[in-house]
Symmetry: C2
Subunit: 250 residues, 2 copies
């Protein structure tokens, strides 16, 4: 928790795929002071390209089954189309961006996910480690990493990888070098007691409050793993996590 | 012409698109001693993807007309598919590769080619400069840049760019830092007096010999600009250029 402040921002596919929200993102991200890292998704564009190529998209529990054809598509879309569009726009906004996958400079290594409950996810990676020293060195040289949700296994294969997990792993790997703030852009204002009622927005969650909100059923479903991951990052030394405008601290 | 030896190798699309020749390239490139840079093409894969998407490929004088759709395709294919495949394979071969386009870290800046003779090439870039200092700093850190034939204009646009020109520009930009050897992989043995007769292979060309071979018509057609570019690189301080196994020096 020492050192200069650093921001790791994760944005989902919906934001980077719509020209208007992408423009807003570039402007907002460029305005963030200090060193920063952007981690992006791109799932809708991958699904669109797959459809145009007559390739079926299969999802299990929100995760994309990634066979050879789908790996080729996500490598093109995440690593090429989406990543380079963001890099070129950030350069124009005065941010010295560098597009990376986990394979580039061996920044993030993962292993192919083993079959679970008889489901073979294909070329999907579970993250093993991020090279925080290398990323810190780039950041100190004034470079802003822009990271696509792809890693590699060190044996020559790219792996489709969850962007939330990558952002969290990167944030934790940078803890020895910076005071790290991890932010997840979110379609809603933040964590809500009732997702359909804006007045139930929860501005600040601590470990203690989370235990309470989970016990009384206020927080459930897909928000549970998000908050559990956030608390795990905090335990590993990340200074604060934000989900939308909700601030999470220990 | 001082300093450690460095190799810039340019390989065309045909080599990186065939699995067998790609494997050979990875092994040969990994075996090159000292710092090195790989610049690759990928045109056939781009044409294939365009065809599958029902997008027409139009070429003028061997250059691809690059409208919005085609720019999207080459960004996906060159910057994603081809580049990341090479990077992952090099990592597996023990080479700490970093995939780059000209936009990444603003390594290579270009401008959109103006209309010529009424031909609008679209999003095609003519190279203005490469950042040799940044590339040298990466190389000294043990990083091997793998460069896709894409640049940017600094105004947020990616530009489709000739890989030969990029290799030459990078080689010249690295002259202040290394003794640079620029190699063009080539489907034939090298420069030939008669392309159809292997016995006419020319092992060594100097500026003087080139003038002679051009004057007597031994070298003509597409080989002329290749050799003119090679001699230009030599005049800018590159130590030697190879086209296949033909060595070109001043």
């Amino acid at each position: 928790m020492m050192g200069e402040g650093l921001t790791v921002l994760k944005v989902g596919g919906a934001i980077v795929e719509d020209p208007e929200s992408l423009r807003q993102l570039i402007s907002d991200f460029a305005a963030i002071q200090g060193p920063k890292v952007l981690v992006h998704g791109g799932g809708r564009s991958a699904t669109q390209l797959a459809t145009r190529l007559g390739i079926e998209t299969r999802m299990v529990d929100g995760r994309r089954i990634t066979d050879d054809n789908m790996l080729n598509i996500v490598t093109m879309v995440y690593g090429g189309q989406v990543n380079k569009r963001i890099v070129a726009l950030l350069q124009a906004a005065g941010v010295n961006a560098l597009g990376l996958t986990g394979a580039d400079m061996d920044i993030i290594r993962s292993h192919r996910r083993p079959q679970r409950n008889g489901i073979d996810y294909g070329w999907v990676g579970d993250v093993d480690r991020a090279d925080g020293d290398r990323l810190a060195s780039l950041l100190r040289d004034g470079i802003t990493p822009v990271i696509a949700p792809l890693t590699h296994d060190g044996q020559g294969n790219m792996l489709n990888t969850n962007a939330d997990t990558m952002a969290q792993t990167i944030a934790c790997a940078l803890v020895p070098h910076f005071t790290v703030s991890l932010r997840f852009a979110f379609e809603k204002q933040g964590v809500m007691g009732n997702p359909d009622d804006p007045t139930t927005f929860i501005p600040h969650i601590t470990e203690e409050l989370f235990a309470q909100l989970r016990a009384d059923g206020t927080i459930s479903g897909g928000m549970l793993p998000k908050l559990e991951n956030a608390l795990q990052a905090l335990r590993q030394g990340v200074a604060e996590v934000r989900i939308g405008q909700t601030v999470i601290t220990r």
